[in-house]
Every structure is written in C-alpha cells, then in structure tokens.
Symmetry: C2
Subunit: 231 residues, 2 copies
C-alpha cells in the first residue's frame, strides 16, 4: 500500500486532532484528519481489526462494529479480558476497504488502492443496561439496518451475556490511496508494459433462507432490498 | 462474529502446534490448527492487518503480504520501526475474509460468517539482497500472479529502499464461521421472523488502463484473465 495520491484541499470539517499517534509521518499525502472522511470509511464497513495487548503481545482480532457521533461500539470478550488486566491500556481499531490493485510498469511501484481508518483510545466497558441496549441498537442498525425493529431484541439474560465496549472516535486518522500507477511520467513509461488498475468490487448475493425457517414467513422488504454498503 | 459451527473431523495434516496464543479458548468449535486451513485462508487474500507495539501501544496496520511454505512476507516500514526499538517483540498478523451476514430470529444470535487466520511471531527483517529479491518475488506473485515475469523487477536502489519482513508461519491458528443461524431449533423458531444468510461476494472489475499508457501496449493475458481469488 505504497501508492500516493495528490493531497486533498483542507476544506472538510470538523478536523480531528493531530496527536503523536494520528500524525501522518509517512506518505503524508494519503493522510486525512477530517471527521467526515473518518465517518465515510466507518459507515462503508462493519468489520474492524481490533489490536489489544494480551500478556504484553499485540493480538489483532476481527470483530463487528457500529458507530454513532461519539463512539465506536464493539463486541469485546477478548478485548474485555485485556481491559480487565490493563484498564488504562489503549487499543487500536483499524477498518480497511480494499478498492483494487495498482499495476505499475515496475514491481516497485505496484500497490493497492484502499481506504483505511485507525482509531486509538482506551475503550470503556459498558455496564449500564440502558446504555448497553442503546449501544447494541447502534451496532445492530449499523451492520444490518432494519433488524433492530424486526428481530427479537436482547432480553435481560442476553444483555448480561454481551460484552460491549465503547471507544471514543476522538483520536483517529484516515489513510487512502486511489488512482492510477505513478510511473507513467518517469523513465519506465517507455517500457512496453501495460499499467493500470484492477478494481475490486463486492456485492450482496441473494438472501438464503435458513433451512429450518418455518413455512409462510416472508422475506421482509429491508432484507429483500438489502443494500448496505460494504467496502 | 459469534456463530459457532460443528467441529470438523481432525483429519487434515500437518497440524500446527498448540501454544498459549493459538489455543482456542473461546468457541472452540470454530478453531482449527490445520496447516491446510491456514494456507487456504492466506491464499484467498493479500491484505493482512499487522499488529505491532509502538511506544507500548498496539497499532494495527493494513498491509499486503505473500507467503511460501515457511514464511509470510510483509512490507514493513512501520513494523520495522517497532522492530528496531524491540527486536524481540512479537507481532500478530490477522487475515480475515467476510463471507456474509447471519440474520437470526433474535438480535443476540446475529453474526458474521467469516474465515480468519492469526499468526504470531517475531518477524525477521530480510537484509540479504538475494533473499529479499526472492521474498519480493513471492509477495508479488502472491498478490498479482504473472507480474514478476512481466513488469520491471526491482533494481538495486529499489531493493535497498524496500523493507521486507519474514514472519514464520509456525505459530498460527484459524477461526471460521459458516452456515445458517442457530436459533432455528430453540423457542425463537416460533417467531414470525425471517432468518437466513446474506452472502457477500467479490469480483474483479474490468482492468482500467493508466490514462498515461503509451498507445499500442496490449493488455497481457494474465491481467485480461485475472482471477486471483479475493476473500
């Protein structure tokens, strides 16, 4: 992921704070601290990679997330274990969407087009049942819009059995790469080598009913027309 | 990602060693320590999330990878910085493929079908030029089969400017989840709620030539017919 792109005009606000962890030290042109960029990347996905420390080693766990204006919400049994051992330890959450491959004339200039967000902070374990229910609503509606009002909501026992973490969106940054390869203007442009992009696209397949689904239950419109973006 | 699946017969070999970090302590039925499972997941993708410690905080970086029988190869300028500060610090690499959403009758049983691999170890920075060239060949051919023999290979300067890490595949584990929702046999099966799967699929779009591509350069067959799996 080494392809640079021209710096974007600094016109989107609000701006996220620059900290030692969000400052872009490398390939600066790819970086953004604009909150709308962050939101767009988070809203385009629902799987993040959560980095926590366990026994002093980093462990990276894929997990679902949702967000509101303030927080990212995560299921977090492993993170919760880490958190119990180190209540003040920060975690890192990364969300990445791969947009395609960049095929340059030289192997060195090959790259990947992507959008990626990174959030740092000390997560908070949500214990208040009302707040947990609201966090689960946010998470559920983020991943599968329409399901919170359609499926059976968590009961008290299920709520107690769910570990939900809130991570502030305050310390975050974005990196993206897009566009064609960059060796079209150097000496390699003379090479008889095809260069360009291989875009990667995703799509939702046809909903597949549970083989155990009772007869006569129709596919609800919000699933039949499911078009939640992914990547 | 909480959906369990029936345990698979323990018939695939070789088996990866069980260590405190690869032992599946949670939802054991989803875990696998079979090397062929690991290889299949690694071969289905080319982007991993690399967790390293920087200033005692976990940082999770998306990056491309390739593999051979022994190692995962990663571009690693950030990891290399971390490695320089802590030469014996282990990293964690996670590769995740999202196969779809599992819509259950209850919010609690909702989940994601996925395949995921996690590798732990102390990466080694490759310094020998021949070994680095071979590692870059493995990485390039893993991501874009056919490009190593087609594009211009790295020259001495480019080779020196590339940080390549090797991470042994020895300590690794796999987790997967597949199949329909699991509340089709409990009391929730009586609810008038549709349940099933929303599959997510990937495809490569049409190759898009670099606008600066010189005229008369044909699309090579290995790109025209690009079908490298993704997820």
């Amino acid at each position: 992921m080494t392809t640079e792109q021209p710096e974007q005009p600094d016109q989107l606000s609000p701006r996220l704070p620059e900290t030692p962890r969000t400052r872009h030290t490398r390939l600066k042109a790819q970086g953004s601290l604009h909150r709308p960029h962050l939101d767009a990347i988070l809203d385009a996905g629902f799987i993040c990679h959560l980095g926590v420390l366990i026994d002093d080693h980093p462990v990276v766990i894929p997990t679902v997330y949702g967000r509101d204006e303030t927080n990212l919400y995560l299921h977090g049994s492993v993170a919760s274990r880490s958190l119990a051992a180190n209540p003040d330890a920060s975690v890192c959450v990364t969300v990445t969407h791969v947009d395609g491959l960049v095929l340059a004339r030289s192997v060195f200039e090959h790259g990947v087009n992507y959008r990626s967000a990174m959030i740092h902070g000390v997560p908070r374990k949500i214990t208040d049942p009302d707040e947990k229910l609201e966090g689960l609503r946010v998470l559920t509606e983020h991943v599968t819009p329409g399901q919170w009002d359609y499926a059976r909501r968590p009961d008290r026992r299920e709520l107690a059995a769910t570990t939900l973490l809130a991570l502030s969106l305050e310390e975050a940054s974005v990196k993206t790469s897009s566009g064609p390869p960059e060796d079209g203007e150097g000496p390699d442009a003379e090479l008889p080598v095809w260069a360009g992009n291989l875009p990667l696209t995703w799509s939702w397949g046809t909903p597949a009913a549970d083989p155990q689904l009772a007869p006569g239950i129709p596919l609800p419109p919000h699933i039949a027309g499911f078009n939640r973006p992914y990547a």
